[in-house]
């Protein structure tokens, strides 16, 4: 039996890279324990022969130009996949690691929450103009948003904000680092202005301050909903009654 094929078989089944010395150990071990004469033949195999066989193997696999190679990294040999197959190998190992992309509605909802938190579901729906039940569920499940508290209005609807994972997800240190945070927060998204419960032009305060405000000053709960263009949900009535 050819040494190189034995080494190949060992490396092919090994869970970790093996050095020539470790490979020789396997050969010696097999020679001592196996009943087969073929195994005994390599009882006194030389490290030089192991090395030479490995080099030859590596060359053969390079020449075969398949999707994997035999490589030596830091003195240990292993079979590795060619890097161009990474997309599929990531798909193979990472089904759970990488959930599907967020849909456009989910992204928009997330953006609204990120820039305007905390806010109620009714407020989000008012801005987006459609029901957000489904996407809210998705965002909650993916841990990107969370319930923050309750709006101090009648009905005390839940308010939502971004969860810690949101920052990690988008590579942000803190919410203030959201691009153009100041500018975008300032843009009023509600109308008509006359019905806004907070000063026009600053629909919401920065998140940190808002939390304070929401907690201590019910009157300044930043509820921007207006009866004229709100949805018909019961929550809305509650918001506006404040």
């Amino acid at each position: 039996m050819e040494l190189k094929f034995i080494l190949e078989a060992i490396l092919f089944s090994a869970q970790k890279p093996l050095s020539p010395a470790e490979l020789r150990e396997v050969l010696v071990d097999a020679a001592e324990h196996a009943e087969e004469d073929t195994a005994r033949a390599f009882k006194k195999v030389k490290l030089d022969d192991v090395n030479a066989a490995l080099e030859q193997l590596a060359q053969e696999h390079a020449a075969a130009a398949r999707s994997y190679r035999l490589v030596c990294v830091a003195g240990s040999w292993q079979f590795v996949s060619q890097s161009e197959y990474a997309p599929w190998l990531k798909a193979l190992v990472g089904e759970k690691m990488r959930p599907p992309r967020l849909s456009q509605p989910a992204l928009e909802t997330l953006a609204i929450i990120a820039y305007r938190q905390p806010l109620t579901r009714a407020e989000i729906e008012q801005i987006r103009g459609v029901s957000v039940d489904g996407v809210m569920q998705t965002l909650l499940e993916r841990g990107l948003i969370e319930q923050i508290g309750r709006a101090e209005v009648i009905g005390r609807p839940m308010t939502y904000g971004t969860a810690p994972l949101f920052l990690e997800y988008f590579g942000l240190r803190r919410l203030e680092d959201l691009p153009a945070a100041d500018e975008l927060r300032r843009i009023p998204m509600q109308k008509p202005e006359s019905l806004l419960t907070v000063e026009p032009g600053l629909a919401t305060a920065p998140p940190d301050r808002l939390k304070e405000a929401g907690g201590t000053q019910p009157g300044e709960s930043g509820s921007p909903a207006s009866p004229s263009n709100g949805t018909t949900s019961a929550d809305d009535g509650a918001v506006n009654a404040s």
């Binding site: 992204l107 997330l110 953006a111 103009g129 153009a180 500018e183």
Partner: protein, 269 residues
Amino acid sequence: MAEYKVQFEVFEGPLDLLLYLVKKDEVDIYEVNLTRIATQFIEYIELMRELDLQVAGEFLVMASTLMYIKSRELLPVDQQVQAEGDEEEEDPRWELIRQLVEYKKFKDAAVRLQEREAEQENVFPRLPGKLQFEPASPPPRPDVSLFDLLNAVSNVLKRFQQKESGRDVFEDKWTVSQKIELLRQTIAGKPALKFSELFEQTTSRSEVVVTFLALLELIRLKQVVVCQPAPFSEIEIRRAPTAIAAPATSPESAAPVANSTSGTSDLHT
């Protein structure tokens, strides 16, 4: 005689014993002298009894069948049942032989299964080590970039502005194409532009929106790329590398945001 005892213990049944006897005869199953085999079979049964071995019922049934066959053979030829099959009753010899042949085939098949069984003990499936992708990015890899988020914001803004009755979104001094031109000029002068710098000069919310739209357009036209040089750093806008041999910032630290998920892909098994 002692040899018999050993043999008895390995016979799986009467057919097995019969096959053994046929094999001992070294003739084709179809040519075998059933009368002689029947005699030997019955001798074996007798021997089993003598040795006080329990004789399974199947052996006795077979013995009686063989006795019957044997008794027919003893009849004068003209009284024997014709083998040609033109009789109502089938020749019991053939029935037995057919059963024997059938059994032998499965016995052989069992031997082949046994060989495969042994072979499988020596087949080792490749069990690769768990794949590890070099940690190019933090574990929960973002499947969207910050830029996607901005895009979403801009969509919301656009729609919202359109809803605003009578208010012209672009009432201010800027149109998108003007802003595109300005951005182009700005970016031509320096390697990179910070995202916040984009809005330094903006004076109205509509200008913010127009600036956004201009940026989006430039990205779409592949004139600029938007990068987040590292997690937790500010977004930068750079000229698309195709334009000139980008002198720009350190190339590896500024991977396009859109590609931030691909990372380096040195795969180690």
